[in-house]
């Protein structure tokens, strides 16, 4: 029988290992972004070094990187806004109306979560080529709806169901029409769910690579595409690469921490409720 103290120590040790496991690669990226090339290529690795901001100065001076971050911001923000505008009313209908084919429709929304982007990337590339939409923000904004709409619909349906139906009935007795009910009751009261779904939608769009890789050329490359584009050539600028990585990951990590309670829900679409 182990003593209580020993168990506590083991428990603490285990938790520390978890912390190291989850944070080490992240730490390694961030610390590498502050190293100069000599420290980066040092063997054995240097743990204590004089940090330099030159990598960050380099990437912010590089118009390609700053342009890519602006592109990512534009695409992620607009596709998120569009997903919420289209998805929230649909979620309301799924939460509060009964109609034929409702469960089929709901399953259809959900099953979009499973489809591999490569399935759509091929035909969308051909279509975009024909419609001269390649390398535009619009094509990314639209194609990202395929994974953002389902997440908005799922989280908002769940949220709207938790709003007492009596409020709606009372409003209807007062003569409010359906759209007013949605706008005046469901949107304000469902705001937490709408916000969570918007954050997820932003994170997914910000992180996306495959569509961005095949549907953009020079003008609309997003941040992940630029980060991977450094990966060719003879001597890789590791400091710049890691600085770009850090700049890409930092905002979404902060967003993710904001919704950390809903993380499982967002990634499984409520499968583990």
């Amino acid at each position: 029988m182990m003593s209580m103290t020993l168990r506590r120590i083991l428990h603490g040790l285990g938790l520390l290992i978890v912390l190291c496991f989850t944070l080490f690669p992240f730490y390694w990226m961030v610390s590498s972004s502050f190293k100069d090339q000599t420290d980066l290529l040092a063997s054995p690795p240097v743990w204590f070094f004089t940090p330099t901001l030159s990598n960050y100065a380099d990437i912010f001076a590089d118009e390609k990187v700053s342009g890519a971050i602006v592109n990512s911001l534009v695409v992620a923000t607009l596709t998120t806004a569009l997903s919420v505008i289209l998805g929230a009313p649909a979620a309301y209908a799924l939460a509060r109306f009964n109609f034929r084919g409702k469960s089929d429709l709901w399953f259809w929304f959900i099953s979009n979560r499973m489809i591999s982007p490569i399935v759509l990337a091929l035909p969308v590339y051909v279509l975009a080529l024909q419609l001269k939409l390649l390398d535009t923000h619009l094509v990314l904004i639209l194609i990202y709806l395929t994974f953002n709409l389902p997440i908005v619909v799922w989280i908002c349906t769940d949220q709207f169901r938790s709003i007492p139906i009596e409020l709606e009935q009372a409003a209807r007795l007062d003569g409010a029409d359906q759209f007013t009910i949605f706008r005046k009751i469901y949107v304000p009261l469902g705001l937490p769910g709408i916000a969570v779904s918007a954050i997820f939608s932003f994170i997914f769009s910000w992180n996306e690579l495959l569509y961005a890789l095949v549907l953009t050329r020079r003008n609309v490359q997003t941040a992940p595409v630029i980060a991977t584009s450094f990966m060719s050539g003879y001597e890789l600028p590791w400091g710049k690469i890691m600085a770009t990585g850090t700049v890409i990951v930092l905002p979404v990590t902060i967003f993710a921490l904001l919704v950390s309670k809903h993380m499982v829900r967002g990634l499984t679409m409520g499968a583990t409720k």
């Binding site: 938790l15 390694w28 709409l149 890409i248």
Partner: protein, 300 residues
């Protein structure tokens, strides 16, 4: 679904649901279904973008027949399955360990910190996970080789060797997705009623008995979800592997999405690539039907 719904006031018009749903449904039809149908049509054509002069004639089932004899495609599917079977046991095992550590009472602040830290790998941009992997598994100065050297085992040319590259992408996947399993298991553990857990703790001091008889039933729904979601996600897996290895060396990490991408966007053989994508889609649809049947049944 109808049973769980509260009685609705029928005070809405027959077409009201339609107006609320129409924009979203229309959008998904245009951007989701229309391209899928177009891929299906392309899959019956000889369609090489680099040779527009040949036209894009219909060739019946030729593309599908070619796929049947295309070793590389089946190898990439097999590799994807092997990747799934490699990473999943680790993710489940580490996931349950982490969940148990986090579920155990005591050490409040450290526990909260560890729990929050699980979000970090999950939120990390997949492409950036690949970049980190390139750095960590670099042959000359990567930390993985430094570590191996330090404990006296020689370094390895990770990304340049067949097994090394496979292990490297598996490690990065395990890093990113173990937290996902841990969080789902943790949610399962917290569903066990406190009274039952405490009563069981008085009965037995054995952790394994506790896990098997008391906690396991609450973990099973999450387990099904993980199996199916991870399999769907690995069929989709592209970003991280593309950045780390581009499918190489040779075809060592040529997972199915990477392979189809290469056929479509490097060789520009859209006909074959579309046929492969359609086959992948069929696999995915079967999976998601299974998923919905197994998981959402309980909720509905």
């Amino acid at each position: 679904m109808a049973q769980t719904q509260p009685k609705l006031n029928p005070g809405y018009g027959r077409w009201t649901p339609f107006w609320f749903l129409a924009p979203a449904v229309f959008a998904l039809l245009v951007i989701g279904i229309y391209p899928t149908i177009s891929a299906l049509i392309t899959s019956f054509r000889r369609y090489n973008i680099t040779r527009p002069r040949d036209g894009f004639p219909f060739v019946g089932l030729d593309n599908y027949v070619n796929i049947l004899s295309d070793q590389t495609f089946w190898q990439s599917l097999g590799l994807t399955a092997r990747f799934f079977l490699t990473v999943l046991p680790f993710e489940l095992f580490f996931g349950i360990c982490v969940a148990l550590l986090l579920h155990r009472p005591g050490l409040g602040i450290l526990r909260a910190l560890a729990r929050v830290s699980l979000v970090v790998p999950l939120a990390t941009t997949y492409a950036v996970v690949g970049l980190i992997g390139r750095l960590v598994f670099n042959r000359d100065f990567g930390i993985a080789n430094q570590f191996l050297n330090a404990i006296g085992v020689g370094g390895l040319d990770w990304l340049g060797s067949t097994t090394g590259a496979f292990i490297a992408i598996a490690v990065m996947d395990i890093w990113q997705w173990t937290p996902f399993c841990a969080l789902i298991f943790l949610a399962g553990l917290s569903m066990v009623p406190v009274e039952i857990e405490e009563a069981a703790r008085l009965e037995t001091s054995s952790k394994t008995a506790m896990l098997r008889h008391v906690q396991l039933p609450y973990l099973l729904p999450g387990l099904t979800a993980m199996l199916i979601l991870r399999s769907a996600d690995i069929l989709k897996l592209f970003d991280m592997v593309f950045v780390m290895t581009r499918g190489g060396p040779g075809s060592a990490t040529d997972l199915v999405s990477i392979y189809i991408q290469r056929v479509g966007f490097r060789i520009f053989d859209m006909g074959t690539a579309s046929a492969q994508a359609i086959l992948l889609l069929i696999v995915t649809i079967v999976l998601s039907r299974l998923y919905i049947k197994l998981i959402y049944k309980e909720i509905e």
